[in-house]
Symmetry: C2
Subunit: 145 residues, 2 copies
């Protein structure tokens, strides 16, 4: 019963390990665990250091919070994740690494992807002399109606 088709523990772990090697990162135990939690099911995920740490604890995994912080930084450095800035008080990390818009649910402080195909920027201010556009962050802030 540990095996359940496309979502078995081993499969999640394998996916995590593959993802790690894509970033050229040494697959240590805690990295594999975190990677499996992040991309084990093949879906995109938005986490904070705390939320990922909580998730790991919930699964009974043994990782230090500081390691979660360092690991998320390592994942970003390797280009496997991106840091999204939506709220001054916390850092959010996204497993999806291309430029795409986000919804930010202000009351729940939750971040989700917005459908990229529904965003159409017809014209963008051009970068001033001596600078180039690194990325364009679009955050659609939502409030409960």
């Amino acid at each position: 019963m540990a095996q359940q088709g496309s979502n078995s523990q081993t499969e999640r772990t394998e996916r995590g390990a593959a993802w790690l090697s894509k970033g050229g990162l040494r697959p240590t135990r805690q990295r594999v665990v975190l990677a499996a939690l992040l991309v084990g099911d093949g879906k995109n995920r938005h986490v904070t250091a705390e939320s990922l740490y909580a998730l790991a604890m919930e699964r009974g995994e043994k990782v230090a919070l500081a390691t979660v912080y360092n690991t998320l930084r390592a994942f970003c450095g390797a280009g496997l994740m991106r840091e999204i800035t939506v709220d001054g008080t916390k850092s959010y990390f996204d497993t999806r690494t291309d430029d795409h818009p986000h919804f930010f649910w202000e009351d729940a402080m939750r971040l989700t992807d917005a459908p990229a195909e529904e965003l159409e920027i017809a014209r963008l201010p051009e970068a001033p002399e001596g600078a180039e556009v690194a990325s364009v962050d679009v955050v659609i802030r939502l409030r409960k109606v």
Copy 2:
């Protein structure tokens, strides 16, 4: 020579005081000082608590850093300013309160307005069921070329 046409100290102070009363805020000495620094010349300004505090110190004004923090919050609460989130480690405040795009200079960690008329969003993802769009933040991150 203290008076120089449209930029005299008294005029800056008056503008600051007028701006305060627009927000229904009691014009205490430190609020008037900070308001004059922010909008005294009629231009828009982007500050952090630290940068505004430094500016006040430079001018020989007497304010506590904590008061700068509290005052910026009060200005935002009164709708006189807006907080812009561009960098996890600092809060930026803008005297311009309408939805408009920003340039963020990653190396200098500086925030400036981007020309709003050069941004054209032809289509925007609509708010999911049960939510409405509170604001749309567009940050164009720049790197030196």
